[in-house]
Structures are given as C-alpha cells and as structure tokens.
Assembly symmetry: C2
DNA sequence: TACCACTATACGGTATCACCGAGTAGCCCG
DNA sequence: CGGGCTACTCGGTGATACCGTATAGTGGTA
C-alpha cells in the first residue's frame, strides 16, 4: 500500500487511544499491535510522539515499570478525559466515514 | 459535529477530486457541494488552496469562463493523471477505513 | 447614488499532525 | 565484546486544512 501518512492524520491518535482503552500497555507494544492491524509503516517514533501528546493533554495515566528484557516500560491507561476523547473520536470517525462512503457511492 | 479538520487531512483533497471527476465544475460550487454532503465547515479558502495544488501537480485541466452573475469562474476537469490519483485515493481509503473499522469492532 | 449581499478567486501566514534521524540505554546471545 | 532486540526521547521537517484579508463582478434596495 502507498503512503498513508496524510490520511492517518487525526485518526492514528484515536487508534492509539482505542488500543490503550482495551488494556494498559506501552509504546513499543502499541507499535507492534498497529503493525499487526495493518498500519504497517507506523514506526516507534510516531507512536511515542502521540503518547507524549496524550500525556501532556491529560488523557492518560502513566506508570513506569521494569521490564524483564530491556529498559523500563511506561504503561499507559486511559483516564476519564481519555475515555471521553475516545468517544468523541469514534463519533467523528462514524460521521466522516459515512459521508465519504456516501460520496463514493454517488452521494446526493 | 466537533472539529473535523485533522481528520480531513488527506481525505478532503480526494473528495474534491471525486466531485470534479463527476462533472466539470468550479471552486465556489465545489464548496457548496461539500457543505451539502455534510462537510459543513469547509470554507472557500480551503477549497481554493486544494484546487491550486491540483493544478500545480498537473491533475486537472482548467478552463476560465465568464459567469452570468459574478466574476469569471475557473472550471476544473480531471485529466488522466487526475483519474489515476483518484483511483489511488479510493484504494487508500478502502484500505484504511477497513482497518479502522476492524479495530473498532474489537480487531484481532 | 450609496450601500449591502452574494458570487468568485487569490494569497500570506498559522497550527497540527505524522514522520524522520539521531541519540541514549538495558538486556541477551554467540 | 559486538550485534540485535527492546524501549524511550527529542529536535526538526513536510504536508495539509484553515484563517484573515484583499480584490472584483453583479444585483437589489433605500
């Protein structure tokens, strides 16, 4: 698949929120998860910038824990603001994707 | 609906291509069409920047024609490169939206 | 006439976002 | 000890939608 970067803007952050919402996890694992899910070219650096932004915006709770096989991990979990933001994200996605699909099907 | 600007990045240009692909039309009318289609907050300035970019990238054929009720209009039509780009856009959209919907449905 | 609304386009500047590159660091294995 | 995997940080880049302002033609109306 071609380059998706522009199309990911505004949606990748929501995907990360969704993954964190499922279970407390950390950056490196989130990146691997995204790659599995078909976001093949998403790289660690991108995910970390998103995580730092989420933290700065007060959407996540962060806990540092040692790892058995490497440096310590920063685990992320959604707080209430994060859950609300996730809800808004899916509402926007629903809205936008329905409009675009309608346009595609000859929308009038 | 909340602010969709970030989510529109990478998709709005494709929507404009699709509209132009249906019939030769001009900026002001494209804006009105987008508004009707649910892209309610998209404004003229945004559409004109996209159109100038399409022209610069050689995806459209441009014809200036007088209007009965205002300044002259610049009509846009897709050329071959534009049609190819439109195809790539829909392929990317299909790919991305299917992945995101799968993630939403509990994607594994 | 003077003003306003609608139509129609252009353009410089801004914010945001995903991405890149380089760096730091811990752990394991040959 | 060197390479490879794990794990995070941070400064900078490029693309995009958006904002504000300017310009300009047309028609209505007070």
């Amino acid at each position: 698949m071609d380059d998706l970067t522009e199309m990911l803007k505004g949606t990748l952050e929501g995907c990360v929120l969704e993954i964190i919402g499922r279970e407390e996890t950390y950056g490196y694992a989130i990146t691997r998860r995204l790659n599995e899910l078909g976001f093949a070219d998403v790289i660690e650096g991108t995910v970390y910038t998103i995580l730092l932004r989420l933290e700065k915006n007060g959407l996540v709770r962060v806990t540092k824990r040692p790892s058995e096989l490497g440096p310590p991990r920063k685990f992320y979990a959604l707080d209430d603001a994060g859950r609300e933001e996730l809800g808004r994200f899916w509402a926007k996605w629903e809205y936008l994707s329905s409009r675009i699909d309608k346009l595609k099907e000859g929308g009038r």
